[in-house]
């Protein structure tokens, strides 16, 4: 094997390594991306993750019929327009959206959602300045009981 061939080979191998993991999630999330584009008017890739949103959800849910989620944000309520909840792999990824006003005093939501299978849950905040931020948590949905 000459040097040129070796370089080429390793370059392609590296390309395979770096792209393959990126391709898979993007492919799986396409339905979600469509939904987010439709409802929010932005690309999912344009939404940044932030530590200012605290999304609490179980790591393992014994039942997908009732997954408890709580969203709490450090961003003042008067800067926030709406909170959106999405579940990546649900048949309809959009779950709910809540409009907040300064009268809320805080951005907070606690509820129970349905999840068809193991998936990410996303809490996306639509801010008054037209930007979006989000928090993500993976919930593993299992089955319980005697069947």
């Amino acid at each position: 094997m000459n040097r040129r061939k070796f370089l080429l080979l390793s370059a392609v191998a590296v390309a395979g390594l770096t792209f393959a993991p990126a391709i898979k999630p993007a492919f799986a999330a396409s339905k979600l991306e469509e939904e987010i584009k439709k409802r929010l008017g932005v690309e999912l890739s344009a939404i940044k993750e932030t530590a200012e949103i605290k999304l609490t959800a179980p790591t393992i849910a014994e039942s997908g019929a009732n997954v408890p989620i709580t969203v709490e944000a450090n961003i003042p309520a008067d800067k926030v327009e709406r909170l959106w909840i999405f579940v990546d792999k649900n048949p309809i990824p959009w779950v709910t959206d809540v409009k907040f006003t300064p009268q809320n005093g805080q951005v907070f939501l606690s509820t129970r959602i349905k999840m068809g299978e193991t998936s990410n849950v996303r809490a996306i905040l639509q801010l008054k300045d037209g930007t979006f931020v989000m928090a993500t948590k993976e919930v593993k949905v299992t089955a319980g009981g005697c069947g």
């Binding site: 299992t142 089955a143 005697c146 069947g147």
Partner: protein, 232 residues
């Protein structure tokens, strides 16, 4: 005929159980025996209360008639407390309660086995609204075992992930007498686990006719076959 046998066994068993209990308890738990002195419950009383609790449908009532092994096992809340004679007795009884498929031990169809392993519905009867049918077949194995990777399973029984690999069964050696002997061992455990593990939690699927010998063979194949997803 079968019913008569059951009743006969029951009668023998009832006598057996009461004498066994009388013999056993003073030696083992003298304090508890003293406390129980004031309230004594006979096996017949227990039986009457049990009978009161079920719909009097002759199609199903036979289910609560115990066989001798069940009667022995009922005496010991914990298997570790079983005296060696009782262990021996159950092993002896249950070794007689194993039948094999008409064609002997052979590699069955693991795809059929997989269906039976996954179905939770077998053996339940139609009642109050649930959609079970008496014809449903299955072993509900995932309730107690972890089997295929990534499928949620229970931990009451040991994990069966990669079971065939653990038995070192490969495509090349699967038809050797050693491998077929391993297949037979697994067949026997599923057909009637009590022959090796007396009073274990696992139902005696074959003995009770919950699964036919061929069905048990297919499940054993599913667990051991090198092409089965269990061993991927």
């Amino acid at each position: 005929m079968k019913k008569a046998l059951f009743l006969g066994l029951l009668a023998i068993g009832l006598v057996g159980i009461s004498t066994a209990q009388q013999k056993k308890q003073p030696a083992k738990q003298p304090q508890k025996q003293a406390a129980k002195e004031e309230v004594r419950v006979t096996p017949e009383e227990v039986r009457q209360v049990l009978l009161s609790g079920f719909e009097q449908d002759p199609k199903f009532l036979w289910k609560i008639e115990q066989d001798e092994s069940q009667r022995i096992c009922s005496q010991y809340p914990s298997m570790e407390d079983m005296p060696p004679q009782a262990v021996q007795k159950v092993i002896e009884l249950e070794n007689k309660n194993i039948k094999y498929p008409q064609w002997g031990i052979y590699w069955g169809d693991w795809k059929e086995g997989k269906k039976l392993v996954e179905s939770a519905r077998g053996g339940r009867f139609a009642s109050y609204g649930f959609s079970d049918r008496p014809t449903d077949r299955g072993g509900n194995c995932y309730a107690c075992h972890l089997i295929e990777k990534g499928v949620p399973g229970g931990t009451m029984g040991p994990s069966l992930a990669g079971y065939g690999k653990r038995y070192e069964i490969t495509k090349e050696n699967m038809n050797t007498p050693e491998s077929l002997e391993k297949l037979k061992t697994v067949y026997k455990i599923i057909y009637n686990g009590w022959h090796a593990f007396p009073c274990s939690s696992m139902p005696r699927f074959g003995y009770h006719g919950v699964l036919s010998p061929e069905e048990v063979m297919n499940i054993a194949t599913y667990l051991l076959h090198p092409e089965s997803p269990v061993n991927k």
